[in-house]
């Protein structure tokens, strides 16, 4: 119990003093997970909409893959990305190993299936006659997809939130491809593991508070945006 109280006291001290290591890890987490989530939204929403609205061969398989991807273990994704960008791997010439790019790639692979899968469900839950109505009004296929995605924006915001939540909290993939380099690829989760393994519970608690606060803040903003849309 004493250990916990001591840890919390140290955490508060570090937060008040704006500990530079803590701020570095927080900004790295936000930059890497934010970029990975943004990329997964930019690519995943159109893909999810196409999967939800399209009728083509292999659609069922792709939807199954997206749904399966939502449950991918981060360490497995990290392992796959590590093998791909390893010096002798197919993308070795990129020299991404132990870089933020590698972490973004791994986190993208974790977030994208969630965004794709939930977007597909979101557009499928719209009234099917809406598509017929839009066609009758002279909409092109691209216009139809754009309008339906906009119409399903609330569940799509939820999909983005779920994607961000999944990657900001993960550790396995980031640790495996980012190497936890201080001031560069060290993010909140990998820093927490490191500090805890050294017995520095105060530092680990401080990092955890910041991580929780970050998740809360991002979700608060998106929830506000979501509810603002819902209000008549």
């Amino acid at each position: 119990m004493e250990l916990i109280v001591e840890g919390i006291r140290e955490a508060l001290a570090r937060l008040v003093a704006l500990d530079p290591d803590l701020l570095d890890a927080a900004s790295a987490s936000l930059a890497i997970s934010g970029t990975a989530t943004a990329l997964s939204v930019v690519t995943g929403v159109p893909l999810g909409a196409a999967l939800g609205l399209g009728r083509f061969r292999g659609r069922g398989l792709l939807l199954t893959l997206a749904n399966t991807g939502m449950g991918f273990p981060p360490v497995v994704v990290g392992l796959v990305v590590a093998v791909l960008i390893w010096r002798s791997g197919p993308f070795g010439q990129l020299e991404w190993f132990c870089t933020r790019q590698a972490m973004i790639a791994a986190q993208y692979l974790l977030a994208a299936p969630t965004v794709i899968g939930l977007t597909a469900v979101a557009v499928q839950s719209l009234d099917p006659m809406l598509r017929v109505q839009l066609r009758s009004l002279g909409a092109t296929p691209t216009q139809i997809i754009w309008i339906l995605v906009r119409e399903a924006r609330l569940p799509i915001i939820t999909a983005a939130m779920a994607g961000f939540g999944a990657v900001i909290s993960e550790i396995g993939a980031s640790l495996m491809v980012g190497c936890n380099i201080k001031g560069d690829t060290r993010i909140l989760t990998t820093a927490i593991v490191l500090e805890a393994s050294k017995g520095e519970f105060g530092a680990a608690f401080a990092l955890s508070f910041v991580l929780l606060a970050l998740i809360f803040a991002v979700n608060a903003v998106t929830t506000w945006a979501q509810q603002r849309q819902r209000a008549p």
């Binding site: 809406l130 017929v132 009758s136 009004l137 216009q143 119409e151």
Partner: protein, 362 residues
């Protein structure tokens, strides 16, 4: 030249052909009602005419084949049974068709506001479409269609989901707008009153086949076969036998009675069907002097309220159904078992060949 014409059209849903049309034309400025029971294929036919379903056959627009479906759809508009509004403001919804056509913001807002005002919902322009009533939403949906100034307007049972008072006022407003604009309109409905209120011509579709296309009055007065007759509300379809033909009248035996009609029987058919609309039969307490050539004493078998009217089922030696107003029924104190007299004029009945084809005008 017809504005829209279908020739040898066949519409399939999956593997099933749901509607076939030998020829159906929509003339400029007219309202054509496609009337039929549920499941008759009328919505499929409308979607096919609007190029929203694949077809086999020929569809002509202003006399030419429709090669560019999108281009055609940008010159027409469809209103469905449900309003299908987007989660945006009423004004944005009304302007949607114009936005899709690339019309500039100012122009589309002006035209949307104008269309909303014509449908009586101009005051709702800034409201969210999610906060308006069903009747208002359907008005917005119609305004959205009219805002694009369509050359053909397709209406797919647009009043079916509305309550009776809302439906009646919307039908009246739409009739006024269509009259003003003179836009060619195809209305799909199963409601005879809607068809009569709005249509210049009526096409009756039953089990996927167009059975009769004619002026609205003609279809209701002279249906071409018993099924069309039943659907357009001709409840009295009686087998008859031609007894004699005079210069003015055809004498028909119906049961043990003689019915006099002015219509001629179908050529060479001595056993036609006698068709009488229930609204054309007068029910009275006793025989009164009148110009009606046909008066038959009978007994009321049962009374069935149908909206503002009462359906009176009579046994006059042959079955007969009459419609009277609730007021009349109340004032006459009609009750099952009462003895009454049913009468109708000789000009009222329509004669039909037992299998196909109508009687001849005298």
């Amino acid at each position: 030249m017809s504005i829209l014409e279908a020739r040898d059209l066949s519409v399939a849903r999956g593997r099933h052909v749901v509607a076939t049309v030998e020829r159906l034309a929509v003339e400029p400025g007219e309202t054509l009602a496609i009337l039929g029971p549920n499941g008759a294929g009328k919505t499929s036919l409308l979607l096919a005419l609007a190029t929203l379903l694949p077809i086999s056959g020929t569809l002509l627009f202003h006399g030419g084949p429709i090669d560019d479906g999108l281009g055609f759809r940008r010159r027409t508009a469809v209103v469905f049974q449900r309003p299908l509004l987007l989660d945006r403001s009423v004004r944005e919804n009304a302007a949607l068709g114009l936005a899709l056509r690339g019309v500039g913001r100012d122009e589309r807002e002006r035209r949307a506001d104008e269309a909303l005002a014509r449908l009586g919902v101009g005051h709702l322009a800034r409201r969210s479409a999610r906060t308006i009533s069903g009747g208002e939403a359907q008005r917005v949906s119609i305004a959205r269609a009219l805002a694009v100034r369509p050359e053909v307007l397709f209406l797919d049972e647009p009043f079916a989901a509305l309550d009776a008072p809302t439906r009646e006022t919307l039908i009246a407003d739409l009739a006024r707008v269509l009259r003003q604009d003179g836009v060619a309109t195809v209305l799909v409905t199963h409601d005879r009153d809607e068809a009569l209120s709005l249509a210049d011509r009526v096409a009756v579709i039953i089990r996927g086949t167009l059975r009769q296309t004619d002026g609205a009055d003609a279809v209701f007065a002279m249906p071409v076969d018993p099924e069309v007759a039943a659907f357009v509300g001709v409840e009295n379809v009686l087998p008859a036998k031609v007894r004699a033909l005079t210069e003015d009248l055809t004498m028909l035996a119906v049961g043990d009675h003689v019915v006099e009609v002015t219509a001629l029987p179908p050529e060479g058919d001595d056993f036609p069907l006698l068709l009488i609309r229930p609204d054309d039969i007068v029910v009275a307490r006793g025989t009164q002097p009148s110009s009606a050539r046909n008066a038959f004493p009978g007994r009321i078998v049962r009374l069935e309220p149908i909206g503002r009217r009462v359906r009176v089922v009579l046994d006059c030696g042959f079955p007969l159904v009459a419609h009277v107003t609730v007021q009349s029924s109340r004032e006459m104190g009609l009750a099952p078992g009462d003895e009454v007299v049913a009468s109708f004029k000789a000009t009222v009945p329509h004669l039909l060949a037992r299998h196909r084809g109508g009687g001849r005008p005298r």
